[in-house]
């Protein structure tokens, strides 16, 4: 019983340890500005990672997630720069994001093509659509109100975008843990054939998974466009493999069936603390990538060692 630490708790401890280490060695890490910085930087990536996690739990993957975000970001920017009110353009942006998700979900469930292929195709497709709309130019011209979403503070303390992220993290956690849909998501991930035979409408559930992922991508797009004051074809494109990495670092099984919001949130925090702290230490960016990769593998090795040890204990008890 001593080793009752779950995967998620270990990650939490690692995040905490990193935080303490950075506080000690990185000058200015603990300053109010820097903490605010990190809180502004985290949500957009966190939301994408959450979306990716939900898809991975079903055993799929969504390679088009960043271009979905970019497409809805670009449409919001287009609407606003043409003078449509903020709320309507946000709504349209979300709807376009959902349409992208629907396209993925539809091809995956109705035609039955494997998710990696579908989303690879739609990734290139969405990128092409954005290019043909924008001709590669970036689009800006947001209202001041809109800029507050990504840059404003809530009650003068916490960045609004952080609140949005926490809100959606909680929503995701509730949806996955407390609803019928959530239970189906896990069941499909661990054995889709068995869940189909036990009467679950798997294609409906999976369709909703892609819709939900694209919804989170659209929300992330709102934060990104507002924060960067622009929308462009490569909006957030560097988050694609990072979000997969964050989901898996957070303990999500890549084959599906397991994954927790808390784990992903911890993983996102670890990436954030590392990236920010190493920047403050003036470590070259290339080395930051090396360290991130090393941490990813190290954490999984720890998990492996832990389960091995746990198994041994259990073996001893039984013998």
């Amino acid at each position: 019983m001593k080793i009752a630490l779950s995967k998620e708790n270990i990650l939490g401890l690692i995040a905490l340890a990193l935080f303490v280490v950075m506080t000690i060695i990185a000058p200015g890490f603990l300053s109010a500005e820097n903490i605010n910085n990190m809180m502004f930087q985290l949500p957009e990536f966190g939301l994408l990672a959450l979306g990716m996690m939900v898809v991975i739990i079903t055993g799929g993957i969504d390679l088009s997630i960043t271009y979905t975000a970019a497409l809805s970001g670009v449409s919001i920017a287009m609407m606003q720069s043409h003078g449509y009110p903020m709320m309507i353009s946000i709504l349209v942006g979300i709807l376009i994001g959902l349409a992208c998700g629907f396209m993925n979900g539809f091809i995956v469930t109705r035609i039955g093509v494997s998710p990696i292929l579908v989303t690879l195709g739609t990734m290139i497709l969405f990128e092409g659509v954005i290019l043909s709309i924008t001709k590669g130019n970036s689009i800006s011209g947001f209202s001041d109100w809109y800029n507050l979403i990504g840059n404003g503070y809530y009650l003068g303390l916490i960045p609004l975008s952080m609140i949005i992220f926490i809100f959606f993290a909680v929503v995701t956690s509730v949806l996955l843990g407390k609803t019928y849909w959530g239970r189906c998501v896990y069941m499909i991930g661990s054995n889709s054939v068995a869940s189909l035979f036990s009467g679950i409408n798997t294609s409906r559930v999976i369709l909703k998974v892609y819709l939900y992922a694209s919804f989170l991508a659209a929300i992330s797009a709102i934060i990104m466009t507002s924060r960067y004051n622009t929308a462009k074809v490569d909006l957030g494109s560097s988050y694609l493999l990072q979000s997969v990495a964050a989901a898996v670092l957070g303990g999500t099984e890549i084959q599906g069936g397991y994954g927790k919001v808390v784990g992903t949130v911890y993983a996102v925090m670890i990436f954030q603390i590392l990236s920010n702290g190493l920047n403050l230490l003036e470590v070259p960016r290339t080395i930051v990538n090396v360290i991130m990769g090393a941490i990813l593998i190290a954490v999984l090795v720890i998990n492996f060692a832990k389960t091995k040890l746990g198994n041994k204990d259990r073996m001893q008890v039984t013998s």
Binding site: L125, I254, V290, I297
Partner: protein, 326 residues
């Protein structure tokens, strides 16, 4: 057995249709010169796709291929500047490239099999590490052919029967992979594990050994691909291959290899590589508006995979109908 070849057949159909359309739009497409250009331009992709086919058949994936190839390219590039202008040096470099690739691939294989980390995570991690180290060491510095030994440049320009040596190299690798998969014990074990891991284990197949083998083989091919890449571009660009891993995986899966493992053929992968190559080549030949090119590529990929799957479903439905009838 029939339905297995059906997958390859449907991609072949798509390639043929695409080719006919393209040659109507621009007759240049069907010239031998152009076809050789397409082949040569996709040798690196093709070689890597061969290794990836094996990895994916066992149910794994390797997103670090581009990074490994780049790493080997960079090391070989540094050595090329130093070695004497002698044919022996060339062979030595080839051996070093392969060994280096095998080591890097072996590390992936070790982590996947012994530490039981999912392949995508291991290779994501090694990709990020290798890329970081390569960029840190080289600082993105580009190496051009001025300092390369003459014998190397001569090697890359060799043509046999009017066909570049690189294309021959690709066919050699394809035949090797085909032979490995069809006619060796290891090949049968690879297919067995992908098909049904549990029963494969029960028959006494050493799962770890097979996994390490496929990743090491992948690394070996990455080493060869690195040589091909340097011969092709006659330069070493540490950023030149970024993003190639997705194309490699796409080619393999388009070629009918099941991403969950268990099935895949060398022929299918060659067709997948060809399809991607033809799409790329056709974009300019067909004079498609530059901003719409990506839309066209995405649509073709989606159509190809959907068409393939609908065919498959239809075949399945037919099968079950026959069963009921009889």
């Amino acid at each position: 057995m029939k339905s297995i070849m059906k997958k390859e057949a449907s991609i072949a159909v798509i390639i043929i249709i695409l080719s006919i359309v393209l040659s109507f739009i621009n007759p240049v497409f069907l010239t031998i010169d152009n076809i050789l250009d397409i082949l040569k331009g996709n040798v690196v992709l093709g070689i890597l796709a061969m290794g990836m086919t094996l990895v994916i058949i066992t149910g794994g994936i390797d997103v670090s291929v581009a990074a490994v190839t780049t790493a080997v390219c960079v090391v070989i590039g540094k050595l090329l500047v130093m070695v004497p202008d002698h044919i022996g040096a060339l062979f030595l470099l080839l051996v070093i490239a392969c060994l280096l690739g095998i080591i890097l691939g072996g590390i992936n294989g070790f982590l996947v099999s012994k530490i039981e980390i999912p392949a995508i995570v291991v290779t994501l991690g090694t990709m990020s590490m290798i890329n970081g180290i390569v960029l840190y060491v080289t600082n993105g510095q580009y190496l051009n052919s001025t300092d390369f030994p003459k014998v190397f440049l001569k090697f890359s320009n060799i043509k046999i029967l009017g066909v570049s040596i690189l294309i021959w190299l690709f066919f050699l690798i394809a035949i090797l992979t085909w032979f490995l998969l069809k006619h060796t014990v290891m090949g049968r074990e690879i297919l067995a594990i992908g098909g049904n891991k549990e029963s494969a284990l029960r028959v006494g197949i050493n799962f770890n050994k097979v996994q390490i083998f496929v990743f090491a083989y992948m690394g070996f091919l990455a080493g060869i691909a690195a040589i091909a890449q340097i011969s092709y571009t006659k330069a070493v660009d540490p950023n030149g291959l970024s993003g190639l891993e997705l194309s490699v995986i796409a080619a393999v899966v388009l070629g009918g290899t099941n991403i969950m493992g268990g099935r895949g053929t060398v022929i299918g992968t060659i067709l997948g590589v060809l399809l991607l190559g033809i799409i790329q080549n056709g974009l300019i030949l067909a004079r498609i508006d530059i901003f719409w090119q990506k839309v066209v590529v995405g649509l073709i990929i989606l159509l190809a995979v959907s068409y393939d799957h609908i065919q498959y479903k239809r075949a399945q439905a037919q099968l079950s109908r026959i069963e009921i009838d009889s």
